[in-house]
């Protein structure tokens, strides 16, 4: 079903951060803790879904010469609503941490990009699903980055301190001294760079595996053997 595919192929295959490299500013700035990251992703997704839906509904009446200006006004309206909503709903500490990055959702290239590339050419239902899918991908990226930065940089998770866990003499969770730099500005660049490379590496490996699986027009046993060796090669390559 195509509506479902509008949603499902977005979070991983078209991940806005790790594949398209869009919306980098909030991704790096507010991922000091998982709570801030999730709050940012929820706020941005709300704007994205609403803007996608409205742009798709009014797309026939927008003259193409001034379409970008129209999209920006639509997005700015929803951003203002989300900003006021966040002030009412979110805890003050989260609001303070997100700071200017909530109004800055208005210049987030993910949202303008989806309005231009998808919502202006598809129906409301597809656009809604596209917004949800891209939003889910953004949330996944924010979760991954903020998890590394909060656990590694502050030794906490969702604000709770992680204490060493031992069960029956086996250390399940050893005490690790936090690496403070992960929570600061340089740590953000380093973490996203490493995660980006991991994401690419997995993608490269899968493409390689798909290619070697598609090639052999040889007897089945030989093909299986080739596949097995290529898999073990790829596995061994992971350690280097």
């Amino acid at each position: 079903m195509s509506l479902l595919r509008d949603f499902t192929d977005k979070p991983i295959k078209h991940n806005p951060v790790f594949v398209l490299a869009l919306g980098l500013c909030p991704t790096l700035a507010v991922t000091t803790s998982v709570r801030n990251g999730v709050a940012m992703a929820v706020a941005a997704t709300t704007v994205l879904v609403c803007a996608n839906l409205l742009v798709s509904l009014v797309r026939r009446w927008i003259p193409s010469q001034i379409r970008i200006a129209c999209y920006i006004v639509i997005i700015a309206g929803f951003v203002t609503m989300v900003e006021i909503g966040m002030k009412a709903v979110a805890p003050p500490a989260v609001n303070e941490a997100l700071g200017i990055f909530i109004p800055l959702i208005v210049v987030n290239c993910i949202i303008l990009g989806r309005a231009e590339a998808f919502a202006s050419r598809h129906g409301p239902a597809s656009s809604l699903m596209d917004g949800l899918g891209i939003g889910a991908g953004f949330l996944l990226a924010m979760l991954a980055i903020s998890l590394v930065r909060e656990v590694g940089g502050a030794g906490t998770l969702w604000g709770y301190r992680l204490t060493p866990v031992t069960a029956g003499g086996v250390t399940l969770l050893p005490h690790v001294e936090p690496v403070t730099v992960l929570g600061m500005a340089p740590g953000a660049f380093l973490v996203i760079g490493l995660l980006f490379a991991v994401f690419r590496w997995i993608g490269l490996r899968r493409r390689e595996a798909a290619r070697t699986a598609a090639v052999p027009a040889v007897p089945k046993v030989a093909a299986d053997f080739a596949k097995k060796t290529s898999e073990s090669d790829a596995g061994a390559g992971g350690g280097t």
Binding site: A21, I100, G193
Partner: protein, 223 residues
């Protein structure tokens, strides 16, 4: 902290200590997107300096004279026209939309003026100008100068806001220039496949940010 900030303090603060890109995470899309070649990076940096200075001044004017409430101590243009801004002001409701409209219009206007008045500069900046509308450094600087300034009840005065915007732009240019130099050299090096292009650029950016952290508390300036 009151209004007594000087030009030198703002300049050192915005260019070195809290660099827009490396400390405040603003304008990262062009920082990674247009830094593959030094000539592109310089073009983008100059275009940003140009727009960010004017945009900072105009948004500071709007903040003072349209968005902030009119009080006996704080008179503004709307108050003088007999349309006093009510208590609480329009900051929460109109700030985002008015700033982005000002920036979008300004970029268009600068583009038109440059095309007529300075065709050489226009050809040099050409393709980078429209991109600046969605450059969060411009909008972020406007917000930092007004609502997020240490004294949000007044914001930064217009002339200082313009100067701070200019310095933020210079900081952006410095970061772009350094980054493009690094990436031009990286392009010729045997980088492992998964790290090629963007991931290694992120890591280089991280190391640059680490170096810029050394400027913290330079001359006792806290920004």
């Amino acid at each position: 902290m009151t209004m007594d900030v000087g030009y030198a303090e703002l300049a050192i603060g915005s260019i070195l200590i809290s660099n827009l890109v490396l400390a405040k995470f603003l304008g990262l899309c062009p920082f990674f997107g247009v830094s593959r070649r030094t000539s592109d990076a310089v073009g983008m940096g100059l275009a940003v300096i140009f727009v960010i200075s004017i945009a900072s001044a105009v948004t500071a004017l709007i903040y003072r004279h349209v968005l902030l409430p009119t009080t006996p101590e704080h008179t503004n243009v709307l108050g003088a026209l007999g349309l006093p801004v009510p208590e609480g002001g329009y900051v929460l409701v109109l700030k985002t939309i008015s700033y982005i409209l000002v920036i979008a219009v300004l970029v268009q206007f600068v583009e038109m003026v440059l095309r007529k008045a300075v065709p050489t500069l226009y050809r040099a900046l050409g393709i980078y100008l429209p991109l600046i509308t969605t450059n969060c450094a411009v909008m972020g600087m406007a917000l930092l100068n007004t609502e997020a300034w240490r004294d949000p009840a007044n914001g930064l005065p217009v002339h200082l806001a313009a100067f701070n915007g200019f310095c933020g732009g210079v900081g952006f240019l410095v970061a772009m220039l350094l980054m493009s130099g690094i990436r031009e050299r990286l392009a010729e090096r045997p980088v492992p496949k998964p790290f090629r292009d963007l991931p290694i650029a992120f890591i280089s950016g991280g190391l640059m940010a680490l170096a810029f952290m050394g400027f913290a508390n330079l001359f006792g300036i806290a920004v």
